[in-house]
Each structure stands twice: as structure tokens, then as C-alpha cells.
């Protein structure tokens, strides 16, 4: 029996379980659809609660976990309002499908979008159980209270466990949304308490929980040797020789299917299938060994001459021409630059392409049989994946089943389901379940890279040290009005609205490389450029860099609706900056020679983050980051402080790695191959990271991303304070700097 209450925007569904339990799901109705947009999933449940007759509470997590901790933190929200003890809760992964609504992992959205609905799920279940108890005892609902999975009636000293009440509760009408009371936050027992990851034990004992650990009966192992140049084709290959190798069962060419459109946002809907050679064997090692004997002649196609150095030269050229587009203009920047007494500063910034390089390389297990595809994947975007497979294999969506498995890191990479398409295609071709595992080289050379770009900045300071003009010519990649996927620039980015004379222009050049979202997409480059150039201006103004920033944020933002730097509230940011300055002893501490502090802030994903880095630079340009202070305002509550701190520290380490990474192209091919030439920060290079949260009366926002962007400029600003040398090109190794 299932009941729903259709009169609300989001509604619950209550189901009685065989054996006397109850199951409760939360759905939200489909939003009205824009006529030209693809159909959205009609229902968006955030979670399910099951209470068995023996009192066991199971909460199903619908969002993929690739290390950001939602498998723990989202069920915590439900358990809080349900009023059960965390130790009595069991977490399971839900399936994937339209009926589960949005299951994306990306954009630091899990906490803000689930905060309200999940508390309502918990509170609704609790209300049902309370009603069931009140009816059983024939007492008013108001006299009943709950604690630790039991309903109590104080006056008569009676109590019943949730399990005993579940069956009756399942037969009751759903509580009215307006009648629900959510807990007073001061009574929280789970939200706000550090809670360890639910899979920690499996992780530390080496249990096979990751995508790469999948094993199915009769499963074959595959490698896929792809065209090194986007859109390339196989001219010839020694397939027969490879086929004869030990353990090898199938070797064949997969003809690429071009993506529906090159720019932008094509990737979520259809990641395309690049041309390559699949080698399928009875073990992965046999497949990979055979691959080493493969000799392929490629037809590289239109992108075969692409070269990073040429792109840099082209950007330089474009920067000198009138920009192709004006993205925003206020006041008169040219007049301000020409104003008498104005101090004009110019800076040309360049940030490179970088790879995600998740610790677990891309992998997917698929079984295509009788027109149906079953998939085991750590995808961050399971539903677009499901649609992509249905489209690629020309089968109905109901015939695609995706099982979510733990992912060894995501950072945006697993939003792209290319490996899923490949695995399903190969499984169909060989008629067996197949596990496709990429090598690290495949992973680094076939990414959806963080897009590179160039920014040519010019700013002016008046004789009082006030910032009066800012012009930014963004030179990126794209075609016409379209930027490469996640490779654009937002004209409302800070300091838009805070500077009276302000202009942002853009120009683009073509690119034959897939680009995509990398943790804190766009912000991870924009913050570096803007907060570095702000520092240049502070120094030109002869002002303390923190003071200069605070003064800028004191201004009343210009009134246009999108003016306030992507919706940023300057007061919240000022508080974060003031606290981080205090925590780090900004301007208060005597630092040894060769050591200095650098500061930066950035608003993204709803989070207000300010950071200070203490950095020592040796004579040989070896950089040691001694300590980092982070202050973040991400709203009223930190659901899981342990997970939150881990995410913030990880973001800082991740951002430090980005100071030394780059992907370059030669003859259309990615040059870098593995961790030795696309390095990651190591233990000895990782500083202690002090993390503080500032509570504010706002809906909690996510923490997977916003703490990353400020660390890059904070470190570069500190390096400038020590050396007087401004890092305007990343990786910083280009200017001779490296981590000690």
C-alpha cells in the first residue's frame, strides 16, 4: 500500500513493508519545463527511510560518494529529525533512475539542496510514529515525546520503540506539511557532531568497495587504446599480432562517434565515443601486456597540429586586438586610466590546462545482454550517464540499470561518462560482462581538462589609493559566442559592482581538446587571477593588502541586480577576512627574513572563504608553505564538522597542487603522462591547515569546493611579499619556483 499527499510541492510516499515495517520517501514534483529543454526527471526524492519491525533504521543515500562524505552527512540530517541514535542507523546506496530525482554530485550542492527536504523526511517519519503511539495509548499527540528511537508518554511512564510502531504508523495518513515541527537546533544530537565516515572500516581493511574492485562471474578485462588526438582515426594497426597474444580474446577497432556539438555543455548529455582499439583478455594484465605490442598508425584529423606554445602566442596576439565581445561595461575605464594622478597597473595572467588525475583511474564494469545494459560505476552523474547509454546503444532508458559504487576521487572528472560508454560498447561487442580499467596514462591523456586561459588586466588607483578602474580582457578558447565547456569567464565576478569604472571583454580561439569541470570550476582560475591582481593594486596603492580588500568591500555595490560580484554579500566576506587576519596574526607577528603572509578571498558555491598562507622562500626559489589559515562562512550549521574540516584541508592541498601542474599539447597530443610529470603535492609539502567556521543565519552551503580557489592567490601573494616577484603564469615552475 502506498500513500501520497499530492497537494504539496514536495510530497512524501509512505509504504507499509511486509513484516510490519514502514518506508518513507520524499519526492518533489517536476518543475514546469521550459519548452526547449530536455525532459527532466519528474520526481526528486532525496532519501528513503525504512524502519523495520525490529527497530532497525535504514537510510538510503541517493547521491554518489566520491570522497566528499555525503554517504555520511546526508543521512545524518534525516536521523537527526527522526530522533534515532546514529549508531542504530544503517546506510545503503539507492539505485539510479528517474524516480530517484536528481542524483548529481557536483557544484557543492548536496548540503544546500537537501538541508530542508531531508529534515522534513525525518520529521514526517517521526510525526507518524508519534501519532501511532498516541493512538495506541489513546493519549493526545502533544503528550508524547521521542528520544533514541522510542516514543515516550511521560505521564503514564510508557514507551514504545519505533519498530513496534512502524506497522501502525504505515497505516496512518501522512502528516500535513504545515503541521510539521522541525527540531530546535539547540536540541541537535547528530547535526553538528563530528561523525566518522560510514565506510571507514571497509576502507582501512581493504574491502573491495571501489569501482575498480568489481568482479562478475564470466567477466572479461579490457583496455581501450584511444586516439591521442581528439577526433583521430585508425589508419592501420597490427590487430592480428595482438590477438595472438596470451590471454587475449578480442581485439577490435571502435569507430568514434563524434559528439553532437563541440561547444559547450555537450558533455553531460553525451560525452561521445572516441575512436580506439579495444583489447579484451582474461586478465587486465594480459590485455595491458598485449597493448604494449600494439602498433597503430593514426590519422590525426583536424587537430593534429595543435600546439600549446602556438596557443600562447595566439593569445598574446588577440590581447593586442580589439576584443571580440564586450561582456560588461560600467563608467568609463579609459577616461579613468587617463585621469591625472591615476596610477595605472597592468598584468597579463596565464593559467594552464590541468588534469583531474583522480587516485582511482577511470573504470567501469558493464554487462550488455538481450538489449539491456547493467552498469557498475562510480559516476558523479548517474542519470546523464543512463541517458547517454540509452542513446548510444539505442535502447529505452528502462533497459539501463546503473549500480553506484564508491569512487576513488571525483573532483568533477566522474561527471563525464565516457568510460561508461566505452565499457558498455565493448561488452556488447564481446557478448560478456567486461571491466574496463584505464591506465594512469589513459587517465591523464584523455581527461576533460580544466580549461586554460589568459587574462589581460589593467587597473587604476587614484591619488588617495582608491581603486577607480578595472579592465579585464579574457582570452580563452571557444567559437563565436561560446566558450569551451567550463572555460569561460563571468562578467559579474568580483570586483564587478565594486569599482565605478569597470569593463570585461573576451576573445576566443579554437580548441581541439575536451574540457570540463574541475573542483570549483572557473573559480579555481578566476580567484587566482583576480586576487593576485588585487594584490598588485594594493601594493601600488601603498596599502596593506588586507586593509585594501576590506575597504573595497566597504563600498556600496552598484545597484544593478547582478552587480554584486555573482551575488556576494560583502558583509559576510568582510567578517571572514577579519577573522582570518586575526587568527593568522596578520600585521601583528614578527616574521623571520624570507617569510611572509599572503591573503586572498573568494566567494563561490554559496561559501565565503578567506585564507592566509605563511610562506618561506629560499634563495633558490624553493617555496615552503608553513601554515594556512582558513575561515569560512557556509551558513548556519556544519552538518558534519569532521567531514567539513577534511574537505577544507583537502581543498587547500588540492589548490597547492594546482600551482605546479599543467597539461600541454604537442602535435595535438597531450604531453604529460603520469604523476611524475603531472605532480601532486606530497606529505612533506603539505602544511598544517587551521580551519574555522563562522556561523551565519543562512541555509548551510556545501564545502566540497569553495575552500580551494583562495589558496592559489594567497600563496602567490605571500611569495610576492617575500621576493617582490609576481607570479603571473602558472604553473609557478615557469618562473622558477617550486615546492621545497
Amino acid at each position: 500500500m502506498t500513500k501520497t499527499d499530492p497537494n504539496r510541492r514536495s510530497f512524501l510516499r509512505l509504504t507499509a513493508l511486509a513484516g510490519g515495517g514502514l518506508m518513507l520517501g520524499l519526492y518533489s514534483k517536476a518543475k514546469a519545463q521550459a519548452p526547449n529543454r530536455p525532459a527532466r526527471a519528474p520526481l526528486a526524492p532525496s532519501d528513503f527511510v525504512t524502519i523495520a519491525s525490529n527497530g532497525k533504521v535504514t537510510i538510503a543515500a541517493c547521491n554518489p560518494d566520491v570522497g566528499q562524505g555525503v554517504l555520511t552527512s546526508l543521512p545524518m540530517i534525516v536521523a537527526e529529525e527522526l530522533d534515532v541514535d546514529w549508531k542504530d542507523v544503517q546506510i545503503v546506496r539507492s539505485g539510479v533512475g528517474r524516480k530517484f530525482g536528481s542524483q548529481l554530485t557536483g557544484g557543492s550542492t548536496a548540503t544546500p539542496s537537501n538541508w530542508e527536504p531531508l529534515r522534513r523526511v525525518g520529521a514526517s517519519a517521526r510525526a507518524l510514529l508519534v501519532s501511532a503511539a498516541a493512538q495506541t495509548w489513546n493519549v493526545p499527540v502533544e503528550e508524547c515525546s521521542t528520544a533514541s528511537g522510542r516514543v515516550h508518554h511521560k505521564a503514564s511512564q510508557r514507551s514504545l520503540g519505533y519498530g513496534e510502531l512502524a506497522s501502525k504508523a504505515a497505516s496512518l495518513p501522512l502528516p500535513d506539511a504545515s503541521s510539521l515541527t522541525l527540531k530546535d537546533p539547540k536540541d541537535y544530537k547528530i547535526i553538528g557532531k563530528s561523525t566518522i565516515g560510514v565506510e571507514n572500516l571497509d576502507i582501512v581493511t581493504g574491502k573491495p568497495i571501489f569501482g575498480i574492485d568489481l568482479a562478475l562471474p564470466g567477466m572479461l578485462h579490457a583496455v581501450f587504446h584511444k586516439t591521442p588526438v581528439m577526433g583521430g582515426k585508425v589508419a592501420s594497426a597490427n590487430l592480428d599480432e595482438v590477438k595472438a597474444m596470451k590471454g587475449v580474446k578480442h581485439v577490435f577497432v571502435i569507430e568514434g562517434r563524434p559528439m553532437p556539438s563541440t561547444y559547450p555543455n555537450y558533455l553531460f548529455q553525451d560525452p561521445g565515443l572516441e575512436t580506439g582499439i579495444a583489447i579484451v583478455a582474461d586478465s587486465w594484465w594480459a590485455a595491458q601486456s598485449a597493448r604494449r605490442k600494439l602498433v597503430v598508425e593514426w590519422e590525426p584529423g583536424q587537430w593534429g597540429t595543435q600546439d600549446s606554445a602556438a596557443n600562447v602566442a595566439k593569445a598574446e596576439e588577440l590581447s593586442k586586438l580589439p576584443p571580440a565581445r564586450n561582456l560588461r561595461s560600467e563608467g568609463d575605464v579609459e577616461a579613468a586610466f587617463a585621469q591625472s594622478g591615476a596610477k595605472v597597473v597592468e598584468g597579463a595572467y596565464h593559467f594552464p590546462f590541468i588534469a583531474h588525475a583522480t587516485m582511482e583511474p577511470q573504470t567501469c564494469t558493464a554487462h550488455f545482454k538481450d538489449g539491456k545494459a547493467e552498469i557498475w560505476s562510480a559516476t558523479q552523474f548517474p542519470q546523464p550517464g543512463l541517458r547517454a547509454i540509452a542513446g548510444l546503444m539505442s535502447i529505452p532508458e528502462e533497459n539501463v540499470t546503473i549500480n553506484m559504487v564508491r569512487g576513488g576521487g571525483g573532483f568533477g572528472r566522474r561527471a563525464y561518462n565516457d568510460v561508461m560508454c566505452e565499457a558498455v560498447w565493448i561488452s556488447k561487442a564481446v557478448g560478456a560482462p567486461v571491466k574496463l580499467v584505464w591506465t594512469r596514462e589513459d587517465d591523464i591523456q584523455h581527461d576533460y581538462y580544466r580549461c586554460g586561459g589568459f587574462q589581460y588586466l589593467k587597473g587604476a588607483i587614484d591619488p588617495n589609493g582608491k581603486l577607480i578602474a578595472w579592465r579585464d580582457h579574457f582570452v580563452g578558447y571557444g567559437e563565436g559566442e561560446a566558450f569551451a565547456h567550463d572555460g569561460g569567464f563571468s562578467p559579474s565576478e568580483f570586483p564587478a559592482g565594486f569599482v565605478p569604472n569597470f569593463a570585461v571583454h573576451s576573445s576566443v580561439m579554437p580548441l581541439g581538446l575536451k574540457t570540463g569541470a574541475l573542483r570549483a570550476p572557473y573559480s579555481n582560475s578566476a580567484a587566482w587571477v583576480i586576487q593576485s591582481f588585487l594584490d598588485e593594486l594594493a601594493h601600488a596603492a601603498g596599502k596593506d593588502p588586507v586593509q585594501f580588500r576590506l575597504e573595497l568591500l566597504e563600498r556600496t555595490p552598484s545597484p544593478s541586480p547582478q552587480a554584486r560580484g555573482r551575488g556576494m554579500d560583502p558583509a559576510r566576506m568582510r567578517r571572514a577576512i577579519e577573522l582570518v587576519a586575526e587568527k593568522s596574526g596578520w600585521g601583528k607577528r614578527q616574521l623571520p627574513k624570507g617569510t611572509a603572509l599572503g591573503a586572498a578571498f573568494h566567494y563561490s558555491h554559496g561559501g565565503y572563504i578567506a585564507e592566509v598562507a605563511e610562506v618561506t622562500v629560499a634563495a633558490n626559489k624553493k617555496v615552503k608553505v608553513n601554515k594556512v589559515w582558513v575561515v569560512g562562512d557556509v551558513g548556519s550549521h556544519i552538518v558534519n564538522p569532521s567531514g567539513a574540516e577534511n574537505q577544507v584541508q583537502g581543498s587547500v592541498v588540492d589548490g597547492l597542487s594546482e600551482l605546479i601542474q599543467e597539461i600541454t599539447l604537442r602535435e595535438g597530443r597531450v604531453v604529460q603522462t603520469n604523476y611524475h610529470n603531472h605532480p601532486m603535492l606530497r606529505m612533506a609539502q603539505a602544511p598544517p591547515i587551521d580551519v574555522q567556521f563562522l556561523a551565519s543565519p543562512n541555509t548551510p552551503s556545501g564545502l566540497g569546493e569553495p575552500a580551494l580557489p583562495p589558496i592559489l592567490p594567497a600563496v602567490c601573494n605571500a611569495i610576492f611579499a617575500v621576493t617582490g616577484e609576481r607570479i603571473r603564469t602558472l604553473p609557478m615552475t615557469k618562473q622558477g619556483f617550486s615546492f621545497a
Partner: protein, 154 residues
């Protein structure tokens, strides 16, 4: 036929003796706790012990490990009761968790040699094991935590 001694048990291995120990463990012997990260010895995700010494299983041939006694993360304890595993759980070290088997194996071998390691000891012993998620501050804390627990239980 090669005989591999893994976690105290003997396993006959009939495959290619040139196969890296990593793939023998994962795909032939179904011990999936040892992870593939880079395949060239730069990331440490595949760290195991051979005769107590940390070794990169991705660049160690089965034939080279045949003589030794091999320990994988599954051999540290299957129930998570080892003080290093305990410290990892309690301090909530993992994010994605993929690197943590290699981290734990490296930490165990460090603590074997230096029961009370300094930060500098930790830096040098752990520097070869990458964590893409950036859990280094917690790994450091967990090693100190485990060192204390091991000392106390002596």
C-alpha cells in the same frame, strides 16, 4: 608453479611470473585492498610489505616476491583492530579512501622502525604515497595517535 606467501598463507600461483605482484594480488588472488594508482612506482597506492619492507607492488614482479613473505592491507587485520587502522577510523582520515591502504602499509612499516616518529620521520617515510584528496594533515595526526596507542599497550 610459484608459491606466494601472503598474509601468512601460502598461495600457488600458476600465472605469468613477469606479472606485477599488484595484478596477481588483485585479479588472481582476489585481494583487492592493494590499489592501482600509477603503475610506475610514483604514487604508493599499491604499497605492500615484502619481508617487512614497503614495496611497490606495481613494479615488483611476482617472481621477485616469490621468496619473500608478503603482507597486504588485508593482513594488517581484517576487523580493523590494528592500532593504525583504529587511528585511521577514529580520526576519520579517509576522504575517497582509495590511497589509504597504501598509506596504512607505509605507516605500519614506519612505526615498526620508529615507534615514536617525529614529523620529519613521517615526512620522509610517507612522502612517496600520494593522497589526491589531501588527507595529509590527518594522516600525520593518525600516525602520532597510533604511536601513542601502541606505546600504551606495550
Amino acid at each position: 608453479m610459484i608459491n606466494l606467501t601472503i598474509n601468512g598463507k601460502s598461495h600457488p600461483f600458476g600465472g605469468d611470473p613477469e606479472m606485477p605482484l599488484l595484478w596477481a594480488l588483485r585479479d588472481e588472488l582476489d585481494l583487492k585492498g592493494t590499489k592501482f594508482g600509477c603503475g610506475i612506482g610514483t604514487c604508493g597506492a599499491c604499497t605492500v610489505h615484502v619481508d617487512g619492507e614497503p614495496k611497490r607492488a606495481c613494479v615488483t614482479k611476482v617472481s621477485d616476491a616469490a621468496e619473500g613473505s608478503i603482507t597486504t592491507v588485508e593482513g594488517i587485520s581484517t576487523d580493523g583492530s590494528h592500532p593504525v587502522q583504529q587511528a585511521w577510523i577514529e580520526l576519520d582520515v579517509p576522504q575517497c579512501g582509495y590511497c589509504q591502504g597504501g598509506q596504512i602499509m607505509s605507516a605500519c612499516s614506519l612505526l615498526e622502525k620508529k615507534p615514536q616518529p617525529t614529523d620529519a620521520d613521517i615526512d620522509s617515510a610517507m612522502n612517496g604515497v600520494l593522497c589526491r584528496c589531501g588527507t595529509y594533515p590527518r594522516i600525520r595526526a593518525a600516525i602520532h595517535h597510533a604511536a601513542k596507542a601502541m606505546q600504551a599497550s606495550k
